[in-house]
Symmetry: C2
Subunit: 328 residues, 2 copies
């Protein structure tokens, strides 16, 4: 039975989120690369969310979700579980809104993400991925403090917030008199993907939005084919740690199953090659999960020749040793 | 006696250059960083020319200079001496204009710069910094081929081309209703600095434009004080290889001595810290010489509190081992 209490976000929620995050989140530019155009034969536009506050798009959704809490809820604080980018997004959004944040992070999360989450003043609680039950810890904290759990993607306000990234893409493309044929999105739980798909549908209904996932973690691609939420067999083992999720978020999938085109998949090696391409050719620092859409594009070679393509670069919080591996 | 035959570029040459490079050079965005604002207490705008074609602003001047050659001159090709960014700028501009380019490069130039210059199809001739006389080699090639020498900064068309970077800064600031108090520029021979100073004078006559140089290579700072072109004692030994020049270019200095404010100086360590800051916090790949203005800004702490500052990030062609050194 469908849960009727969950509100599916719409385009108007994104427009509202854009007003809420205005002056807080950065309006990231659309960038071009002549080399990328030459390689693909397409007209490619890059949306560099690595340049966003906290180094990823996650700030958008976190800020929008917290502003939607009432005064009483805000007083009790917020809580989340994340290995990184969502952790930083929630921590920084909470800091700006003067709300206490508690973040459960796996002890083996990338160092840069741990440090940056703490820097925003959040209370970070480490757990052991193997030994500890994160949900039990989280439930206990929620009960003790009354804090609101901010899910990284299965939350309508988070999805609407991420959708502001798509709204900016659409407004800027329209301003330049351009119509995107394909929009490639780095996909984990599907919150950013759903938000962008909603915005794209409103502005450019003929554009195809594609999920981009590492091989072996293509739950979204398979779910789009079967029409129901499929799961990944394993939870770890790809260099794209930022976008590894067990299965599509329910709210996002309800949107995406209606709006997305074919799902794309790439290898870890292709993800690292995309990180190196971003570093050497685009002069942008992008983490492997944030390079997912670029990896998918580069893998397709000239398949999109003569098309107008938008590629999201969703995050840039890479540890130097992973970058070194990509540049080898 | 002043050489009256040399035309000093003016604002209108920059406006003309902007029309020539339109659709070729990238209009780079102005970026913000809340963290940088917090650290400095200022309102900081970054002009990331590392995102420009060839990874530095040099393409602007090179393209403008070559388009100013007549058909006969173009047929005989162009020639330059450069350890890197100007080499790539000339090579890529020549490729796009279907002009032969010969580039003399020191054998110890950064690998990334050598490779990228060759990639644009230029004929690269390596010389030994100690053993070979680069000017003799260059003069011989010019005599044999009739190629036009494109000086990296002491050329009015090159300066006008670099000025388009300043023009973009001014147009964008004006569009946002902002008036810069200070503009910090990475300074080698002073071509970019002169171009930006001319544009700034036209739009924002009260803005102070500052040259930024590594300690020990502060020929510009000292020349501005004495009013004549001073020389550096040595030619190498700073990590900021891209902006080491023996003394200010004559044409640029004739402009800069009238227009610039105080010259700023920073240490190699501060340059590497700025590279690391750009990498970790801005998610931008910037080379040490390209981080000169950022290094100068960070060194000043809160000196510019409450001011509106523009900082150029002039290039991003960094070898991975230099980045590794910065990130240590």
């Amino acid at each position: 039975m469908e849960d009727k209490s969950v509100h599916l976000p719409t385009y108007s929620d994104i427009a509202q989120a854009a007003m809420r995050i205005k002056g807080q989140a950065i309006i990231t530019p659309l960038l071009r690369s002549d080399l990328l155009d030459e390689i693909t034969g397409a007209k490619v536009f890059l949306k560099p969310e690595n340049l966003q506050l906290t180094g990823s798009f996650k700030f958008r959704g976190a800020f929008n979700a917290i502003t939607n809490l009432d005064a009483g809820e805000r007083k009790k604080g917020v809580l989340t579980i994340s290995s990184g980018n969502h952790a930083q997004g929630v921590a920084e959004a909470a800091r700006r809104l003067d709300v206490d944040a508690t973040i459960l992070m796996p002890a083996d999360a990338p160092r840069i993400k741990l440090e940056r989450t703490k820097r925003s003043g959040a209370k970070v609680i480490l757990f052991d991925r193997e030994q500890d039950d994160r949900d039990t810890i989280s439930a206990r904290i929620a009960e003790e403090t009354g804090a609101t759990f901010i899910h990284p993607y299965d939350n309508p306000h988070v999805i609407a917030g991420q959708g502001t990234c798509g709204l900016e893409i659409c407004i800027e493309m329209q301003k330049r008199g351009l119509v995107p044929d394909h929009i490639l999105v780095c996909t984990g739980g599907g919150g950013l993907t759903a938000g962008i798909a909603l915005a794209a549908k409103h502005y450019f209904s003929a554009a195809s939005v594609h999920s981009c996932e590492p091989a072996g973690f293509d739950d979204y691609r398979r779910s789009l084919i079967s029409g129901k939420c499929e799961r990944n067999e394993t939870l770890g083992g790809s260099v794209c740690e930022a976008i590894l999720t067990p299965s599509p978020g329910k709210i996002g999938f309800a949107i995406n199953k209606e709006l997305l085109g074919e799902g794309f998949v790439f290898s870890d090696e292709e993800a690292l090659d995309a990180v190196a391409f971003a570093f050497n050719e685009l002069k942008l620092v992008v983490e492997p999960g944030g390079a997912a859409a670029l990896a998918a594009l580069l893998q397709k070679g000239k398949k999109f020749a003569d098309k107008t393509i938008v590629v999201t670069l969703s995050g840039g919080n890479i540890d130097p040793d992973v970058l070194a591996r990509a540049l080898l």
